[in-house]
Assembly symmetry: D2
Homo-oligomer: 340 residues x 4
């Protein structure tokens, strides 16, 4: 951490600051210029509060050199994390597609969709039981019943299931769920993250509506700091001023996160674009830049979907997407598989 002091700071104040910093167990190297003094902090600066230091009267600016995340940081964990979800591996060269409807609607739907997406190559089944909707008047999901229907489909197809949690009090309902999803609107619901950190479930953490990569990694850190290292990151588009697409899919996030963290990184082209006809090219692009997996909305009858139908594929369209993604994976596998 670099602390640039204001010109003409009082010597006694500078000394107070240096002493306080040393009490926080960091070393302080002092560089005095003609006009300004710069302090270089060495050691475990993750616990030093930027805001606190920046607020001091004699401080002009503060810049972190090392990242404030530790458990998620590739520097301290150079090898890719491989997460094993009831036998399905993701990360470290293992690629997996998660597919299924936005909302769980009925048993017939779940059996049909899960059977078809499994046949087409999907490894995990998704489906929303608890739905975060902008309007209190929109459909909020089947809740506990939705989880039951997912478990039914899991029994039939053997696919591990992924579903979103909105309230830590619902955790008992998630006992047999394989992957718990934290949605974009809850990415900084720190109370929820802390509770998930106490479980040993795999957590699929979606990037916030307008979050930076650093904030996403800090949210992963909340989960990991509690002892749960099974975290998968999911890029799902961010909010911009472009209106043709629902969000702007930030695919540079994939190689950038790859550099910053050892955690697996997947991409959700359905929510990112909001348009089913853009899912195929963006799924292919995500595979090409090294994503460890995809999350794709598939509905047996998109026209009747209770939510987000405009972004759902039919099972037939999904099969085509999965085939093209597989072809891209063949080309890039050697590029992104550390064991190759």
């Amino acid at each position: 951490m670099i602390v640039v002091l204001k010109p003409q700071s009082e010597q006694s104040q500078v000394e107070n600051l240096i002493n306080w910093l040393k009490e926080q167990n960091v070393d302080v190297h002092i560089s005095e210029g003609h006009f300004q003094t710069v302090l270089g902090l060495i050691g475990d600066t993750a616990k030093i509060d930027d805001d606190l230091v920046a607020s001091l009267e004699i401080v002009e600016t503060v810049k972190r050199v090392s990242e404030p995340f530790k458990s998620a940081n590739r520097k301290f964990h150079p090898d890719d994390s491989i997460i094993d979800i009831s036998g399905v591996k993701i990360g470290g060269g293992n690629f997996a597609i998660i597919a299924g409807p936005c909302s769980v609607e009925s048993e017939a739907q779940m059996i049909e969709v899960s059977t078809k997406v499994k046949a087409a190559g999907a490894k995990l089944l998704r489906g929303g039981a608890f739905k975060p909707r902008t309007s209190p008047y929109d459909f909020q999901g089947l809740k506990a019943e939705g989880i039951e229907l997912l478990l039914e489909a899991k029994k039939v197809t053997g696919m591990p299931i992924v579903t979103e949690i909105m309230n830590a009090n619902h955790l008992p309902l998630f006992e047999h769920v394989d992957v718990i999803q934290v949605g974009a609107r809850n990415m900084q619901n720190f109370e929820l993250l802390k509770e998930l950190g106490k479980t040993n479930k795999t957590i699929l953490l979606k990037r916030g509506l307008a979050s930076t990569l650093k904030e996403m990694l800090m949210s992963a850190e909340y989960i990991m700091a509690g002892g749960n290292e099974n975290v998968i990151l999911c890029e799902r588009g961010i909010r911009t001023y472009e209106t043709y697409t629902r969000n702007t899919l930030d695919l540079s996030a994939v190689p950038m996160l790859r550099e910053l963290t050892h955690l697996p990184i997947i991409v959700d082209p359905s929510h990112a674009t909001g348009l089913s006809r853009l899912v195929k090219p963006m799924a292919m692009a995500a595979a090409a830049c090294g994503a460890d997996g995809l999350m794709i909305e598939v509905h047996n009858n998109p026209k009747a979907a209770l939510c987000d139908g405009a972004q759902s594929l039919t099972p037939e369209q999904f099969a085509d997407v999965a085939k093209r993604v597989e072809a891209i994976r063949e080309v890039v596998k050697a590029e992104y598989d550390p064991t190759f």
Copy 2:
């Protein structure tokens, strides 16, 4: 709601759609052009799901004419709501300043700050007991003890208190709190909003980090739909690419929200700018464009604040700001007070 159909849609599909819409209890007016047919939906369209309709194969685009919020909507409630907080009124021409430290630190601090801000004209006391921090390693607040210290200060000064909630399970701790704040990161924590909708506490709802005004109103609607109409909206800056200020304070939100809703609207210049020296001009500007109140960070010793010190004022600086704001209020009162 206007539904524009795609050119050459099949007549049978169009009829299916019209029938389905009528089943949702809305009237449908049909306008057939040379190329495209446009449906105008009349009636209670708030419960019609835009996404669902937009997802249909024959639909090109959907546009809402009326707003999807009802309880918060000025159209259905033309008069300003006046909220009475243990005797302090806000809204409908009543202006109030909320002041206090970002974090509650000690009894001495709270007594000193609250006494001074009250003397300077503040009507409510704020202080963070539960703190949402981006990093799990940063100070998270004194929690229950923090609320106790706020209640101590309330006993001494008689000022109603405002403090943030992060978890609905903590509600019992807020029994004697006058105003419960929902922070920016929880603006779309719908589970929390629903629980707050079941209480009769005044809720101070802060705009999300990168939320639109419509989303903020829909979040207010979540609280109000549960029966609690005591909601105050708070503009606190939104995320942009400008880096000199922490956020971009969107003051146009004040007159825009005034038009859209009857709820009181306050402004938080401290979090918006992140710089204590910008608080005064922005507080004055907020008063000038018709805000019903302000929320300002004040700390007895900003240099030692455990968080967000860079944006805190000293009690002396606050007194100066309050005086200037009062002068602006004198000029604009007639402009914004409907009872004048």
Copy 3:
């Protein structure tokens, strides 16, 4: 175009509006609801000014159904445009990589870089002679001398050249330049676009720093309205609040533009990310989602580049990228080539 009128508009004003619209040579279909009247305009609405109509006292909102761009619109020109640049084709299944340094520095540099990128598969040579720099004190390019050096390299390698124009008065210097680039900061320099519309040069139009796709297409329309239909669109990242990358590369723009326009679409991963180590994965992703080409910065000695060195590849790194992109193209060719 849909015009929603305000409730209780005066009948005489509504009639005035309808008459005025008919004078603009559009048909008007009227749909009267219980509360609101909706007008549907049919015909050539591209010349109707949205702002003007929206400004009328009786108008609540205006929504375009058809796009305001015509020459660039795929609806009126269903087949992909194929642009022939001195024998190098781009668009309609033809893929081409443009490579070269950010700034032209010397003859030796240009000969070395162009020879090497050609050997690695690049089809066009780029190099900046006129450089738009944020600071007046930064290097502004070799100007006329830079164009001479590009033409030297063209003589040696036979590669057509691409270079940026900043001032229409410089057009005579571009007589032998094959592709004239309009940079992001000039995307809405309409005076420049109009002048380029009078030439028959191929124009490479970069997306503005924070432009929407619609604005980019309208800028293409400025060039095409002048009679020059040789326009290539270039996605180069847009401005957001993410700071790890210089801009946020919006790859969804590729399939979205593909749908909206017949013009070729290329991607510049170097400027988009600002980081040479992200160029390879993003170039592969761009090819995977259907880009017609790439523009990549290559420098013989990135450490000494006079500008933008952090995003330049060495010729050896470029050869590796080109090979991987070629492999992706093999897989996706059938997907994006209309003649397949």
Copy 4:
């Protein structure tokens, strides 16, 4: 400027860098930590290219401590600049309102509007002769004839005139224009800025559609580096994801720029919000936070305005706004007038 080197950089490379930096006439202070070395550059670092240094293999990150703008920088010019426009002063406590129509349409219009806005307190007359329009099919202004009509109005009312330039070749037409406006889309048209830097006209520089304050100051620097120090900065809203208003007016820019530069700062609430009914509150807010002036669209018949009518006031509405702004100015004058 602070340069943080990568851990384990080769000593010879570090020495090369230090020698090169010294050749650029800056002093280099070296601070060696356990893991990383930090260089502090002292002296005239404005001419050092950040990008170049950041691109070096051994450099991890670069941070500017001093601003890269000099002529516009308050540090080197502590007193407010006061610009005299044919007798009308702006800056340093002098407040002025610029008013007039978006587009010049006719002599009768200009005489009527200018007479009325002058009577209401406006000091300068604006009117667009050359209009930057997103679509080539929209009205582009009366051009040379428009300037003639402005000069007619000036003759009648004696008000200095403000009008936009889009092409440096048109400069001869601006000979009798008092203030030349550079529009948002041309804020980084560096060729135009350089030409304006060679004149002695007052330049009103509008903030770009999505520009940072630093970029706006660097664009002012382009003009000032040419010798023309008569620059007025204009905040006119920036692009965000909020859709109720056309742009997001960033009023914090006023006190922030006040700190960074000595140049006068005005605010354009008409273009910022795009809604005439928000002009009054935002004009009052701008005055309250210390703007040196306002630019407000006024049209004698907003319903018939050829462009941007939705944001125009009638002369009567303008008179009301001017009166309220005057009342705010009375309150805040002492706050912002350095001569008080």
